[in-house]
């Protein structure tokens, strides 16, 4: 079904106002599929009816629910694989050396969606680094959507979801099966704290991060918001920390002081030590 231009404009503005996400005209075909569940949940039959109700009621709750439904991204375990290999082979071994005194490692998985990425990170840590068992490991996993965070926190995945990217050996070791539902074991789940964060707002975290995963989300923001988000990431990242973006993303044309490091098929970004961020 094709939405009227007026309805598309309304949804684009709602999304931009509430989340900072830019949905261009070429992506408007996504609206119907992404809003389908919310349309049913609200007792409507079409997206047009949902839009009409939202406009008439001006309900902040409904607006939030629409924004949430429109920002759910595809995610799966060990997406692209290479970043996780870089963690295992290079980054974590270096942190074990450099953080030997504090025995603390802080990791942030931004825009974590249904949680596959932070769980993948936690599995890498537990699977390959038994020496970190006594360390203070914190993985903060954030997303803008309350609904998706609740799902992520449950640690429950369908057979179809674990089939995508999760090696069988790790599935058996780190999940419990109940029928066709697989649940992440507690020893992995307890490494992760889930919290709601809107990337386009100002945010501050108590700890500096050693590793930030912010993958496959910046492509949805305007240039101004990308710049602001990456400036904030820079301020939250330890001077020797590293930032992972999505496999198809780079910071070309943005003025943020990161150096790109490449190792094999993986690239990540590290703060340039000599340059201060602009205020």
């Amino acid at each position: 079904m094709t939405l009227a231009v007026d309805d598309i404009n309304f949804l684009q503005k709602l999304l931009a106002d509430r989340t900072g996400h830019v949905l261009n005209d070429a992506q408007s075909y996504l609206l119907d599929s992404r809003l389908k569940s919310l349309v049913s949940a609200q007792g409507f039959e079409t997206v047009e009816q949902l839009v009409a109700k939202t406009r008439a009621s001006n309900s902040p709750l409904l607006q939030d629910q629409i924004a949430e439904a429109m920002t759910i991204n595809e995610t799966f375990f060990f997406r692209d694989m290479h970043p996780f290999e870089a963690l295992q082979e290079t980054i974590i071994p270096q942190l074990i050396e450099s953080r030997r005194q504090t025995q603390t490692i802080n990791i942030w998985a931004g825009a974590c969606s249904s949680g596959q990425e932070p769980y993948s990170i936690a599995i890498v840590l537990r699977e390959h680094f038994p020496e970190l068992m006594d360390w203070n490991i914190k993985i903060l996993a954030t997303d803008i959507s309350d609904e998706i965070l609740a799902r992520a926190k449950s640690g429950e995945y369908s057979q179809f979801e674990v089939n995508r990217g999760m090696p069988a050996k790790l599935l058996i070791r780190h999940f419990d099966r109940n029928g066709s539902t697989w649940t992440v074991k507690n020893e992995i789940r307890k490494l992760i704290e889930f919290r709601k964060v809107n990337l386009t707002k100002s945010w501050f975290f108590a700890d500096m991060f050693d590793i930030v995963f912010l993958r496959n989300v910046l492509i949805y923001f305007s240039v101004e918001n990308k710049q602001r988000i990456l400036e904030q990431v820079h301020r939250s990242l330890a001077s020797d920390g590293c930032l992972f973006l999505g496999g198809g993303e780079s910071i070309i044309r943005l003025d943020v002081p990161f150096d790109r490091e490449t190792n094999g098929q993986t690239s990540w970004y590290q703060p340039v030590p000599s340059r201060k961020m602009k205020k």
């Binding site: 799966f76 060990f78 694989m81 057979q159 179809f160 674990v162 089939n163 995508r164 990217g165 090696p167 069988a168 050996k169 599935l171 058996i172 099966r177 066709s180 910046l218 492509i219 240039v223 990308k226 973006l245 496999g247 198809g248 993303e249 780079s250 910071i251 070309i252 044309r253 943005l254």
Partner: protein, 131 residues
Amino acid sequence: MNALVVDDSRAMRKILRSILLDLGYQIIEAEHGLDAIEKLKENDPFEIALVDWNMPEMNGLEFVQHVRENSDHDNMKLVMVTTETEPDRMVKALMAGVDEFVMKPFTPEILIDKLRLIGVSVNAGNQCEEL
């Protein structure tokens, strides 16, 4: 590159053949484990075998055990494509020498990701997008 598809379902063999053809493989089909052993003897070495679990004549696990006891096929990757998801049985298959599992139902992306995981060559098209 040769790929062996072992499944008693003609429909499933057709699906797997279609995915592997797109990846550049030449595909040989077998209807069960005993048939697959014959196909191994008759053809050049295979890079990979996709194997169902429950089949007549010789099931997938028996076929895997046979292959892994025979050093002629040490380099062949073995992927079970199956509805079998009981963890204890999966462990048994992994210990017998299965490299990876794909649980039915699956999509082409799931199969291709699993092949990548075990180092099987697949075409990757990842375009860099500027922010």
